[in-house]
Amino acid sequence: MAGNENLRTRWRAWTDAGVTVLAILATLIVVTPLAAIFGYLIYKGASSLNLAFFMQIPRPEGESGGGMANAIVGSGVLLLVASLIGVPIGIGGGVFLAEFGRGTKLANAVRFTADVLNGVPSIVMGLAIYSLIVSTHSGLIPFSGHFSAFSGGVALGIMMIPTVCRTTEEMLLMVPHAVREAALGLGLPNWRSVLSITVKTASPGIITGCMLAFARVAGETAPLIFTAFGNAFMNTSLNQPIEALPLQIWVFAISPYDDQHRLAWAGALVLIALIVLAVSLVRYVTSRGVLKGAS
């Protein structure tokens, strides 16, 4: 009997140790691809990154050299349009959830739909915008009837809305009621109190949310394939097809030319550097607890 119990205790100790080892192993396996991706990216990308990459447009296939200036500018234009659409609507939705709809069924429905919309595949978003803007000739919708920078920007902008909306709401909920009451007590109308006091107090957090949404859509390829379409030349017109960094990386990655592969790696490195910068900044701002001063 005593030996049996002893065996049982040892078995329990062993399983405990075994699970600990397995958990550490799982952690290592998860971190490995991250290290591999970054290592490979820097190794491949840094060697082909030069000034021409930022200054020139791609050369014809098979010729060496060239850069992705058109794609960088294009991404800038697309993200500007996307932010102009996604940020105001997203913040507005967040203000509704936190200030007007708090605790109502309607707000729960909006919150739930936003989370579900966040999970809709980006390629589906591209198809919907293709169908809405690119394939229809309508006087109601600007730049409709053909591939355009505008349609790509709209697709990306819609994808930003759920993220911006949810983070805005979360940040506004952290603003204490006393701040709102102080503003109203001074005789400010409600709209003014929301905009100049509540939203302003929460603004570091809201900017964080916008940056996160921005970083996410900056790397999106799928919704741009049949909206922004790509363009081998420099373009800043909203009415014309436009190149984007992820789109150009895709086209170059699946091409048979080594020079284009090199450009793709350099492009991926630039894209990743941009996104890591945004995410780290966000992490820095949130960990500093800028909002804590308010509560």
Binding site: G93, I123, I161
Partner: protein, 336 residues
């Protein structure tokens, strides 16, 4: 519970009621409500446009589009997808999406849950922040960069070492048959997908695990349990619904993932039992063929595949959100 969670105080209600800029306030309120409602509008708009644009396929093939196959008039083999000759069936794409997604769950779930257990229950405090940041970073890498890496680093690795090994060890199951010289295929797609959904699964699992009250852990430990027994009985059992929600959310992401899968799955609309064979997925075929569609019917068929993908991911995500919500609803505020 922060002070922000309570309802407005009587002072505020009084002040609001005597506001003297009622019109501006009402307009502001309506504007914000409109912004919130635009989210419903977007979901409705997507569904409506996809339905309108896939009308042609729907009227020609009906529901059979999703389960019927055709017979090749030349060699009498079953065939599914031949845009030039007007044969459209979504079967191989549904098959490819399901196989690659479940394969990715098979790899990502044990790893993701293991990572979450390590981070919440075992990890030294100093390591927790950096490790959490690293997994967060994994979530921020764009799909296209994963695809690029998979194409030039992962696929050669699979081709040279992993696929021959799997074939010699597990070839008898018929699931691994190394007759594909490219290294592309379902396995490559599944592996890259698993890396991509890992952060979602592990961060949500971590969230629901931290939502389990400390008293549960203490009670189990007080009965003389080892750490693993404490995790199993005190934490995992309480968090299991949330973990299932996290897994379903990961599945939703895997189903719709496009670029990385497109670059490594092989893009052939065929059905193979072998996981090492070339295949394709619903999202991949849209990305590959849409801008070079040969006919209106082809385009409409691709949009119908997109509509199916939309509806499936909506349902999957809604289920996952509900499950996670059920668990974290009564959580102690901000245990993070």
């Amino acid at each position: 519970m922060g002070p922000g969670k309570e309802g407005p105080s009587p002072v505020r209600v009084f002040l609001l009621s005597r506001g003297n800029s009622a019109i501006a306030d009402r307009a502001f309120r309506w504007l914000m409500t409109l912004c919130a409602f635009s989210i419903f509008g977007i979901v409705g708009l997507i569904a409506w446009r996809l339905m309108v644009s896939s009308q042609m396929t729907w009227s020609q093939f009906g529901l059979g589009f999703f389960y019927k196959s055709f017979v090749d008039p030349v060699n009498h083999q079953p065939m599914y997808w031949d845009p030039v000759n007007g044969y459209f069936s979504a079967v191989p794409f549904i098959y490819g999406t399901l196989v690659s997604s479940f394969l990715s769950l098979l790899i990502a779930v044990p790893l993701g849950v293991g990572l979450a257990i390590f981070l919440t229950e075992m990890c030294p405090r100093a390591l927790r922040g950096p490790l959490a940041f690293l997994t967060e970073l994994l979530a921020a890498i764009p799909s296209i960069v994963y695809g690029l890496w998979a194409m030039y680093a992962l696929v050669p690795l699979l081709r040279e070492y992993v696929n021959p090994l799997l074939t010699s060890l597990l070839g008898w199951t018929g699931l691994f048959n190394n007759d594909n010289p490219t290294g592309l295929g379902f396995l490559a797609g599944g592996v890259i997908l698993s890396i991509m959904i890992l952060p979602i699964i592990s961060s949500l699992t971590r969230e629901v695990m931290t939502a389990v009250p400390h008293s549960q852990r203490e009670a189990v430990l007080a009965l003389g349990a080892t750490r693993w027994e404490m995790i199993r009985m005190g934490v995992l059992r309480n968090a299991r619904i949330g973990i299932v929600g996290a897994i379903i959310l990961g599945l939703g992401r895997a189903l719709g993932e496009t670029m990385a899968v497109t670059m490594v799955i092989g893009n052939t609309p065929e059905i193979h039992k072998s996981l090492l064979a070339n295949g394709t997925s619903m999202a991949a075929v849209i990305a590959n063929e849409f801008s070079e569609a040969v006919s209106d019917l082809h385009r409409s068929a691709l949009i119908e595949i997109g509509l199916a993908l939309f509806l499936v991911t909506i349902v999957v995500n809604a289920c996952a959100q509900l499950l996670v919500w059920v668990v974290t609803r009564g959580a102690p505020a901000q245990a993070r």
